[in-house]
Point group: C2
Chain length 284, copies 2
């Protein structure tokens, strides 16, 4: 039976530390930590995710401000708001809730965020730093996965890591982060011809596709670490990419869905905000 990672517990520990550090700094400098979220259009899951984050945000001691835009908002409107928020002394982090409507370029939007307010680590300058081994602000899901791996105590150097996701939000930055730690890294995705050949050799398998049961027992190496960052709504409720019951007695360590990567990712948003806030108030 695999060890099941308790994501909520890891998240709580991060949030407690962030909360305590923020409180000290806020009382020392007399500035309330605050984060702005830009939400464009109506998306049920975005709303849900925002509410979850807002609640957690309050617990940690971060003011949350929401900037709502209609579905047909122009790029200009969004960018003007970002430029205003960049200058706003009371805002320490800016987040653009995804998905954004198709007529908007996520690149144009993200590249306008001041790297010193880029709470998601998605501004080009922060992403570029990763290549050069400067992990200033790291994208939240990859950061959460690193925290979980760290928690397992696995040695990354020389490990065979396989990532199923090649998005700019998860797969690509995670690949660079694992390479920075000298893992051997393979990145697979929907165009990969023989997924099984990659996954069954993986000491560490990270999957984030949103395809329930993509990863079954046959995909998994004995005693390996399985990180499931997939989220799907099914008739049985929220589930990940992994056939948990089929895999759990073959893997060595596994993250559940829900209660695995998700809560740690939210905690990592706050950890990034702490970094940005600290740099701002201490002028570092």
């Amino acid at each position: 039976m695999a060890l099941i990672v308790d994501g909520r517990r890891i998240a709580n520990r991060i949030k407690e530390r962030v909360s305590s550090d923020l409180k000290k700094l806020a009382s020392e400098y007399g500035i309330a930590p605050a984060m702005a979220t830009i939400m464009i259009g109506n998306n049920e899951e975005s709303e849900l995710y925002f509410k979850l984050r807002e609640k957690a945000s309050k617990e940690v001691g971060i003011k949350s401000k929401l900037y709502r835009f209609p579905d047909d908002a122009t790029e200009r409107e969004i960018i003007d708001t970002i430029l205003d928020l960049n200058k706003d002394e009371e805002i320490h982090g800016i987040m653009v809730q995804r998905p954004v409507p198709n007529h908007l370029s996520l690149f144009n939007i993200l590249s306008k965020i001041d790297p010193d307010k880029d709470v998601e680590g998605m501004a080009p300058q922060n992403l570029g730093n990763l290549f050069l081994g400067r992990e200033t602000i790291v994208p939240c899901t990859p950061l959460a996965i690193l925290k979980i791996l760290d928690h397992t105590g696995v040695k990354l150097e020389g490990a065979n890591a396989v990532i199923i996701n090649h998005s700019p939000i998860i797969g690509k930055p995670l690949a660079i982060l694992l390479l920075n730690r000298n893992a051997t890294v393979s990145v697979c995705h929907v165009f990969t011809r023989d997924l099984l050949k990659y996954t069954r050799e993986a000491d560490i398998l990270v999957t984030a596709t949103g395809t329930p049961n993509l990863i079954g027992r046959e995909h998994v190496k004995n005693g390996s670490i399985i990180i499931d960052a997939g989220i799907s709504k099914t008739e049985k409720g929220i589930c990940g990419d992994v056939d948990f019951d089929g895999v759990k007695d073959k893997a060595g360590i596994i993250t559940p869905v829900p209660g695995g990567v998700g809560p740690v990712t939210i905690a990592c948003v706050f950890e990034n905000l702490l970094k940005l806030y600290k740099k701002r108030v201490q002028g570092g």
Copy 2:
């Protein structure tokens, strides 16, 4: 017998196009294209490489200016020169010749180059753009490898690509570029436990380690594409990572050393300079 890629011919075609475009623009705008190289300390290979590039630079119609620093130059001196060059209207590209002495942080230096003068594509903002699929200025060796792959006509989508190099200059950006084209990408390096297991499945194998004969016949898949970006000086002269004679009748396509990736990389420096120059004079 594998098809042997003629790197010099590919390079010449790029240089001819760059030269012709630069001439037209230079006569239209009356501004001479110019590039600055920063060289720190004495390094025989850097000198040789600079001379080769300077010669080619002249042929293409790019003025080359050299800024020499002693071995014990401070970071401040280098950075001040970069900041001056960023403002210098007569300079369109800045290159920092590697290696740089150990007491200097390559990150601190590269991150000061104006992304619009970053001829090597190593400024964090340009590197970060790669993640988001915006290939503005792409690092020169990865760009050269893409040009060669393009020349072979191989379909990258779904191909198994293996890269042996995980530096910020070659392996990491190349991985992202190939993922942008939907290849499945594995990145190996000195910490990889079973290199053979990766290489023998590779439709495309890129190696850049500087270890002669690292890749022998047994490492190579039948009919695959072998890109050798390694360079070593041996008693027999300059050679790459691949046992060329052992591999050449098993691979489908192979690049030689010398005369493969090297000349294309130099041509790509000029192509990047053309992009930067064009943007500058046309105000794009």
